[in-house]
């Protein structure tokens, strides 16, 4: 019985926490931060990858922050609803959240979103999901060079599946194609699993997905990873060259980090980033992330900010070239 109501319980708890927040706000001083529970908003469903990471992090962060840290899920709108809540919260350090590439660096370019990357204060990058190009057994090529040669010879014919229109994998595919000077046919599926399944069944030639999603099929020999969009080769697929190695200057990965609304008191921001720095090196946290198959990549605030801005810029170019820029702007406003 108890298990069936955690969602509701969490909601009422966080409502309580919020209520408490409003009452205590004027009294809280930056010096005695955190005087009450710190809330991490996760803009995705409970049980997903980001949520699980945030929950593990919350536990570890309590140790270094010296206060309670709770996770609250606010899913919907591809993450934009929760992200908007984070960036529009009172900048007192009691409401922070996970900031992911999609809602931060991509969604604002489509329009219809009430925030932009500029509204975010960056705390720490916590992980990156790398991008790999997998090809099916039936595809008429079996390495990155062959892939590029085929794409050049057959412009717009080579089908590459992604996890959804306008998502990170779609942008990665199109960004790569632009950098390589080829034309690919992007096929948006309802999720990475559906795209990989279509590739397994030979309905499409290739698929762009994260290593964790592909590795079992690679081990089973049904999909071959021919390229990764990283600076260096990755441990999962040591034989797959980077895009740079085959002459295409392009790197891309989906990332997540911790962000807060802009305008945090400097002492609070310093406390948060220091605690995060310790948490990221905590052996318990590192082990749990490894067990979960998460690709940890801790970067301090400044580097996180630089990465987010770089990706937002690239995404904007790709989205403009796809004719998707501002497509969701509410014209009436």
């Amino acid at each position: 019985m108890k298990r069936s109501v955690p969602g509701i319980a969490a909601a009422s708890l966080s409502a309580l926490a919020l209520g408490g927040a409003i009452l205590a706000a004027p009294m809280a001083q930056a010096a005695d931060y955190p005087a009450r529970p710190v809330q991490i908003i996760v803009p995705y469903n409970a049980g997903g990858g980001t949520d699980l990471t945030a929950r593990v992090l919350a536990k570890v962060l309590e140790k270094y922050l010296g206060g309670t840290v709770v996770v609250r899920n606010q899913p919907g709108g591809g993450g934009s609803i929760g992200t908007s809540a984070i960036l529009h919260a009172k900048p007192d350090g009691y409401t922070i959240g996970t900031g992911s590439q999609g809602p931060l660096a991509m969604l604002p370019h489509y329009g219809g979103i009430d925030y932009s990357l500029k509204d975010a204060a960056f705390l720490a990058l916590i992980g990156r999901n790398q991008m790999a190009l997998g090809v099916g057994k039936a595809a008429p090529f079996s390495d990155a060079k062959g892939f590029l040669a085929y794409a050049k010879a057959h412009p717009g014919e080579l089908t590459v599946g992604n996890s959804g229109a306008g998502g990170a994998n779609h942008i990665a595919t199109e960004g790569f194609a632009t950098a390589a000077g080829v034309k690919l046919k992007s096929m948006p599926f309802g999720g990475a699993i559906a795209a990989i399944t279509a590739c397994l069944g030979g309905h499409i030639n290739a698929v762009v997905a994260h290593p964790a999603e592909l590795i079992n099929h690679v081990k089973a020999g049904s999909i071959k990873v021919v390229m990764v969009m990283e600076d260096k080769r990755i441990a999962e697929f040591p034989d797959a060259p980077t895009a740079k190695e085959v002459g295409v200057d392009f790197t891309w990965a989906a990332w997540k980090g911790l962000v807060a609304p802009k305008g945090l008191p400097p002492e609070v921001e310093a406390k948060l980033t220091a605690a995060l720095d310790k948490a990221m090196h905590d052996p318990e946290y590192v082990k749990k992330m490894a067990d979960m198959g998460e690709n940890m990549d801790y970067r301090p605030a400044a580097q996180f900010k630089a990465l987010a801005e770089r990706d937002s810029e690239i995404a904007e170019k790709v989205i403009r070239s796809l004719g998707m820029y501002g497509m969701n702007v509410n014209k009436k406003k």
């Binding site: 019985m1 298990r3 069936s4 109501v5 955690p6 969602g7 509701i8 909601a11 469903n45 409970a46 049980g47 997903g48 699980l52 929950r55 606010q74 899913p75 919907g76 709108g77 591809g78 934009s80 609803i81 908007s84 489509y110 219809g112 009430d114 089908t159 959804g164 229109a165 306008g166 998502g167 779609h170 046919k185 096929m187 948006p188 599926f189 309802g190 699993i193 559906a194 990989i196 399944t197 279509a198 397994l200 069944g201 030979g202 309905h203 964790a212 590795i215 079992n216 099929h217 081990k219 089973a220 049904s222 979960m292 198959g293 998707m324 497509m327 969701n328 509410n330 009436k332 406003k333």
Partner: protein, 499 residues
């Protein structure tokens, strides 16, 4: 011998205990509107971190099986589908309960769920690797043909064909709200971010079936006549069972097949099974009035999906539905790679999963049968009080899914639409089917045409596509033929009586 030792390991008290616990938890989760099997499994995956793989996975399978079954309880008793999988059970289950056969309806649903679950477990344990390849044969064109075939159910479910088509069209239209599947652009959201992913499905279903019923009940809330509802009798009679035997088998086969095809899911399976049961029946007019085979058809199919969906997951590493996708996460956390290598590297885990799939269904049957007399006591609550409670449940359930207040408006909106449909005899089932299959048809039609550059001949040329496309007009015409036959029979009877 090695295999047997794995089976025995999966039958150890430790494993049985967590499987039973999972199944019981699953039944509760399924019965509560707004908590689905997917959420149950997702929330418990982290709990299995510290367990032995077979223990943890057995618990998750228990939740899966129990969760899909549990949905029928609230469908039958209070017309509130606990999970989308059991929306079709409302059609005959709720009228049965209103006719004083709540116990029997739940009894049949339990028997059917166990039958479907056990059937698909047998399939899973015997021919999983052979059948799994079917899962990969489905590309966009095949999915589109299957969805189109599924949409023809509307013709036979909705008495008045014109009104059925109107309801179906409305459903397809409503399913267009949200992100365009190919371009990602927001459609018909009017700038409301909460609608960016379309109407949330469970709140829409709760509104369509439960809230509309609350409105209907409110009309007569002051008529103080409390109908004594009988809840006695749990086991269907032998003659009733014999009547349902064929339906159970058909439902189990349909459910298992749909389960194997990735991404289709138990909602679709139960509707198709319901329609096929009706088509094969000698008394199709009885469906929808509280007819036991109607319950048998839907519940056998949706629970057969559980075993079916595990087939491609274990054999290919491709999850068959949303729940198994979460389950795959659970497997990988334990360092197990679902797919052909799992059979080679971890046969103990595979056999353990097969075994737990059986035991979970047996537990589900025992708990279900034992619990029915208590579940059905809900109906002894005075209607006035019950109606208010249901209304409250609708709100909590719709909100709990995403914690998004926009979903409450979705629920109320669909409630008003459902109420109007009920008043003017439009089929709510038709709208529900269109909501499930409309997006599947649209996304796959466009994706498939994109793949072949709009070449219709190439699009339709696959054998599976052709098969379902050929069945579609047959399925459309069948209810009309059935109608005409029934009329002829009635006419003949009249004539013979006259002469």
């Amino acid at each position: 011998m090695e295999q047997l030792s794995y089976v025995l390991a999966a039958l150890s008290p430790n494993v049985l205990w967590v499987t039973a616990l999972g199944t019981l938890g699953g039944i509760v989760i399924g019965a509560l509107p707004g908590l689905t099997a997917t959420m149950g499994v997702a929330l418990l995956v982290p709990m299995t971190f510290g367990m032995e793989p077979v223990n943890g996975l057995s618990m998750l399978i228990g939740i899966f099986v129990g969760g899909i079954y549990g949905g029928c309880i609230s469908s039958i008793l209070i017309k509130t589908p606990g999970t989308p999988a059991s929306a079709a059970t409302v059609l005959d289950g709720y009228p049965m309960a209103q006719n004083g056969q709540a116990g029997k309806a739940l009894g049949m649903a339990t028997i059917a769920s166990a039958a479907g679950g056990l059937f698909s477990s047998v399939v899973l344990a015997t021919v999983a690797p052979q059948l799994a390849s079917v899962a990969l044969k489905f590309g966009p064109a095949e999915y589109f043909a299957l969805a189109l075939f599924g949409l023809t159910i509307i013709a036979s479910l909705s008495g008045d064909i014109v009104k059925g088509v109107i309801a179906g069209m409305l459903g397809v239209l409503l399913s267009c709200v949200g992100a365009d599947p190919i371009t990602g652009a927001s459609r018909y959201t009017f700038g409301v971010t909460g609608f960016a992913a379309g109407f949330a499905f469970t709140p829409a279903l709760i509104g369509l079936f439960a809230v509309s019923e609350v409105f209907v009940q409110l009309e007569k809330i002051f008529e103080d006549k409390v109908k004594p509802v009988s809840v006695s009798g749990v086991w269907p009679s032998w003659s009733e069972l014999r009547e349902c035997w064929g339906t159970l088998l058909r439902g189990s086969i349909i459910g298992t097949f749909i389960g194997i095809v990735p991404g289709v899911g138990s909602g679709t399976a139960s509707w198709i099974s319901y329609n096929e049961a009706r088509r094969a029946s000698r008394t199709p007019e009885k469906f929808g009035t509280g007819y036991m085979p109607g319950v048998a058809a839907t519940e056998s199919a949706n629970n057969a999906v559980c075993g079916g969906a595990l087939v491609p997951l274990l054999a290919l590493g491709v999850p068959g539905d949303v729940v198994t996708a979460v389950l795959m996460g659970g497997l990988m956390i334990h360092g197990l790679a679902p797919g052909p290598l799992l059979f080679r590297d971890n046969p103990g885990v595979v056999v353990g999963l097969f075994t737990s799939s059986f035991t979970a269904n047996i537990f589900m049957f025992v708990f279900g049968m034992a619990g029915i007399p208590y579940f059905s006591k809900i109906l002894l609550i005075p209607k006035k009080v019950l109606t208010v409670c249901i209304a409250l449940f609708c709100f909590i359930g719709s909100y709990a899914i995403n914690m998004n207040s926009v979903d409450l408006y979705t629920m109320l909106g669909f409630g008003v639409v459902g109420y109007g449909m009920q008043k003017y005899n439009f089929s709510q089932a038709a709208l529900c089917i269109a909501l499930i299959l409309g997006p599947m048809a649209e996304a796959n039609l466009r994706l498939g045409l994109l793949n072949v550059d709009g070449d219709l001949v190439a699009f339709c040329s696959g054998p599976i596509t052709l098969f379902f496309l050929a069945l579609t007009p047959v399925s459309l015409a069948w209810p009309m033929i059935q109608n005409r036959r029934a009329k002829k029979k009635a006419l003949a009877r009249q004539n013979s009586e006259v002469s």
